[in-house]
């Protein structure tokens, strides 16, 4: 048990003072590029045991991907009242980082495994692909008026797209190394906007690794840190670039999108492989900006850690993907 265990125990004493919680084990969870995660086993005074996931910010100035923990907590606690999509119960929040060293959310640890792992083990991933599609179609139908009031709400789909493309122009102005590609792509994307769809809750990291499945009960959707109100097709486009195998979109795009259309009521004009290709550009905007920010910080006094130089390749990869999309769809 590393130093986090005793700190978590003090936190439990503060949030559950009558339950005499003791941290029996606490271990870091490797994987994931953004938050620091740990799994902790707690024995309460009455003898019952529970396992929790602690999900906190990396130390200031380190890491590449940043997100707002307060916003994530607000979203996690609003979702049960807004949608029947299941998420692991969000139990407590160290809002100041006073106890856990940084702002950290404590959630139930589900007795479940990653849908990505299940797909990799399955002889036929088709039914699991359907489950994945249905799950995110359901996410995208969440009533927006039940989401936290502080979530930014664009006026409509076209205005949202305009904002994302303006963001690319802003990035081009700030990061000269990427400017040629970003100017080319944003100009192209303005001229090739797909038909609009209603705004929706977008997960922001749509992949089967963020869906947990157990022997019983509904799938659980995790990692909401990039959740926002935007165009639901961003999630579809984003998933197309996930390299973990199997990628069930590429296994059968028509089946994937046909099922998504049936579940959402969107038309083939609004959702088809070309539109999904386009939305890779839109769905990657926020992450690309964070990669560029991190790359610019390499060599500075507060270095962002090895992930930043490692992910410079991801910037090159995105340049390549974006230009290939422009070529394919022109």
């Amino acid at each position: 048990m590393d130093a986090l265990g005793p700190r978590f125990e003090r936190f439990l004493a503060a949030v559950e003072p009558d339950r005499a919680g003791r941290v029996i084990a606490c271990e870091a969870i490797t994987g994931g590029y953004s938050r620091i995660s740990a799994r902790a086993l707690v024995r309460w005074g009455g003898g019952a045991e529970e396992t929790f996931i602690l999900r906190g910010d990396p130390p200031p100035g380190s890491g590449v991907f940043t997100s707002d923990r307060d916003a994530e907590w607000d979203l996690l606690t609003a979702l049960p009242g807004a949608t029947s999509i299941a998420t692991p119960a969000a139990r407590w929040y160290d809002r100041s980082g006073e106890y856990l060293g940084s702002k950290a959310i404590v959630m139930d640890c589900a007795a479940a495994v990653s849908l990505q792992d299940e797909m990799a083990r399955a002889a036929d991933a088709g039914p699991l692909a359907d489950l994945f599609v249905d799950t995110f179609a359901h996410v995208h139908q969440t009533p927006l008026d039940l989401l936290p009031a502080r979530m930014p709400r664009p006026p409509d789909g076209p205005a949202y797209l305009d904002g994302v493309l303006a963001g690319y122009d802003r990035m081009a102005g700030e990061y000269p190394s990427s400017a040629p590609v970003l100017r080319y792509v944003s100009w192209w994307a303005r001229a090739h906007q797909p038909p609009p769809v209603p705004l929706a809750l977008v997960h922001g990291d749509c992949q089967p690794s963020n869906v947990l499945v157990g022997p019983a009960g509904p799938p659980l959707v995790i990692d909401w840190e990039f959740g926002h109100i935007g165009d639901p097709r961003e999630d579809l486009g984003y998933y197309t670039q996930i390299p973990l195998q199997p990628n069930v979109y590429w296994a059968d795009p028509e089946r994937f999108l046909g099922r998504y259309r049936a579940a959402t009521g969107l038309t083939e004009e609004q959702v088809n492989p070309r539109v999904v290709d386009y939305f890779l550009i839109i769905g990657m905007a926020a992450l690309l900006e964070q990669l560029l920010v991190a790359a610019a910080a390499i060599g500075a006094a507060e270095r962002p850690g090895i992930l930043a130089p490692y992910l410079i390749n991801a910037i090159s990869h995105q340049h390549d993907m974006f230009l290939a999309i422009c070529d394919r769809l022109s």
């Binding site: 490797t30 400017a179 040629p180 090159s316």
Partner: protein
């Protein structure tokens, strides 16, 4: 008398460090987080080796191409922003082969190219936009050469 030790070259030195990390150090690590960080570090070094071997030549070649494009667009659709970017790009010591100077000039050439691309786009000059796309294709080919062995780890 040589002023630097020419062999091994910088890329060979870095590649030797990569071998040391992967064959000499990684097997002795038990902490999964440290293993991951070491693998990422080795990837960065391997990419740096490719860059060390070629980046000055790559940047100089592309600088010439970028400025050529910007000049051609300026002849057709000269804007104040493009002329200023071109003048800026031509400033500085053009013959210096020191990496920082080459990188500075390359970056300014990129800004002139971007200004030219915007001018071509705004003018609706499809032929010049297509030429820009070809130059970007070359740039991506170089970036892919650097990242040839890139694999996503740790997800």
């Amino acid at each position: 008398m040589p002023i630097v030790i020419t062999r091994p070259t910088t890329d060979a030195l870095i590649e030797d460090c990569c071998r040391e990390l992967m064959e000499g150090i990684l097997p002795g690590l038990t902490d999964e987080t440290l293993k991951l960080r070491l693998i990422m570090t080795e990837t960065v070094l391997r990419n740096a080796a490719v860059r060390a071997a070629h980046e000055i030549a790559w940047m100089r070649e592309e600088t010439t191409a970028l400025l050529g494009y910007a000049g051609r667009v300026a002849e057709r659709h000269g804007s104040e922003a493009l002329r200023a970017a071109l003048a800026e790009a031509e400033a500085g010591p053009p013959d210096s082969l020191h990496l920082a100077d080459v990188a500075d000039r390359y970056e300014r050439a990129g800004q002139a190219f971007t200004a030219a691309l915007v001018a071509a786009q705004e003018a609706g000059d499809a032929a010049m936009v297509a030429q820009a796309r070809e130059l970007l294709r070359d740039r991506i080919a170089t970036e892919k050469e650097v990242m040839a062995t890139y694999e996503v780890v740790g997800r």
